[in-house]
Amino acid sequence: MKLRSVWVFHLNTGACNGCDIEILDILTPYYDVERLGVKLVSTPRHAHALLVTGPLTRQTYYAAKRAYEAMPPKPRIVIAIGTCACSGGIFYDSYSIRRESERLRLEYPRTGGASEFLPVDVYIPGCPPRPEEILYGLALLLGLAKKKLSPRHYVGEEFVLPRTQFKAWVEVILKAKIRKELGYFDGYKLLERFMELVDIAETPEALQRLVEEAKTREKDSRIRDGLDKLYSYYLEVVRTYEALLNQKRGIPRIQK
């Protein structure tokens, strides 16, 4: 059956309100879901589809059941919005969540949430999903967009080691330090750039020149500072390594 103009009823089954605000967002003129024919109605008796958010608590179970049964029997579409409705999300193990079946520890896809007792047609994961994600899910339901994901199973892929021996060791130490300085988001990206410079440069002096060159091109002062710190940590690691080697050879360490 081709769906044309879907009227939806918004059902919150114990969500944290994040997904509900995003649903409100798609009704604003900026995203304007009504141009796809989707209209929010105030009773399930007029609705073709339920927009379910939340992990289905024990208290909301009865209300959700009544809302679902009040819908007209024909299309009776259920759209699960948000990670909680899809699979329980962060609340999957909570005491207040209704469980339809025994949860196994190692099963996949992971079960839980409103999808356990309602037959869901479209799952829209996200915590919360962007308004675009919800629009995409509705477009998928209406046949305006194509599905992008497919199940992926990788067996026996080739193993790639980007760096080995000394450089890999340096990378591990620098990674821990830059995470404390800049955080993972900027820090790991910066470390990747820095390690590329290390791969090019042969001596610490050449590396210093490359770092200075990269600093002049960089506008963000945090990144410039991070480059400086990475270079000093790199020198520290190299010095420690040489000292260890000297100890191993039995040569007394020279104080600088």
């Binding site: 003129p29 900026y30 995203y31 304007d32 141009r35 796809l36 990670t83 899809c86 699979s87 329980g88 999300g89 962060i90 999957y92 190692l106 996949y108 896809p109 992971r110 999808s115 047609d121 479209v122 799952y123 829209i124 994961p125 996200g126 915590c127 962007r130 675009e132 994600e133 629009l135 995409y136 899910g137 509705l138 998928l140 305006l144 967009a145 599905k147 992008k148 994901l149 199940p151 992926r152 199973h153 990788y154 067996v155 026996g156 892929e157 193993f159 790639v160 080691l161 760096r163 021996q165 000394f166 890999a168 060791w169 591990v172 993972y184 790991y188 390594y241 260890l244 080697l245 191993k248």
Partner: protein
Amino acid sequence: MPITKYYPFEPEQAPLEYRGVPEINPHLCVGCGACVNVCPPDALIKIDDYENGTRKIVLDIGRCIRCARCEEVCPTRAIRLTREFEAASNDRICHVEIVELKLAKCRECGKYVDYTERQLQKVLSLIPPGILEFDRIREKLPLCRECKRLLTVVNATKFEEEMRE
């Protein structure tokens, strides 16, 4: 001027900082399970099969809350949050990504141990040259817990005998 987005009919990109759908790179993943330990909603699970000698790292996007803790702890940067956000699907199995790896075999008893071959390679590649004796480490590494304990006992008794002599 119309303000409304034309979105489902034209492509759209999330902002640079957006934490979208996570993805595992099967070429880099060593199967250490660090991401499994930190994942707050258990979207990542580790399934060991000691009979066939495989380990599965299973990622379920439908359970993921996009906190990026897995990206923070991954030692090889195999798992990353992409800017991709179009994850809606009518089937939950489409949200699942599985990376299957081989478990290492014990050198002494031939049973499968609780770490993968890739973890071994990674650990051996991390050691800088000249500090540790490679051959002695290589001898010890692919051992299961039982055999490791036995080896320790054997070495200790040898040492005691030497001391007596």
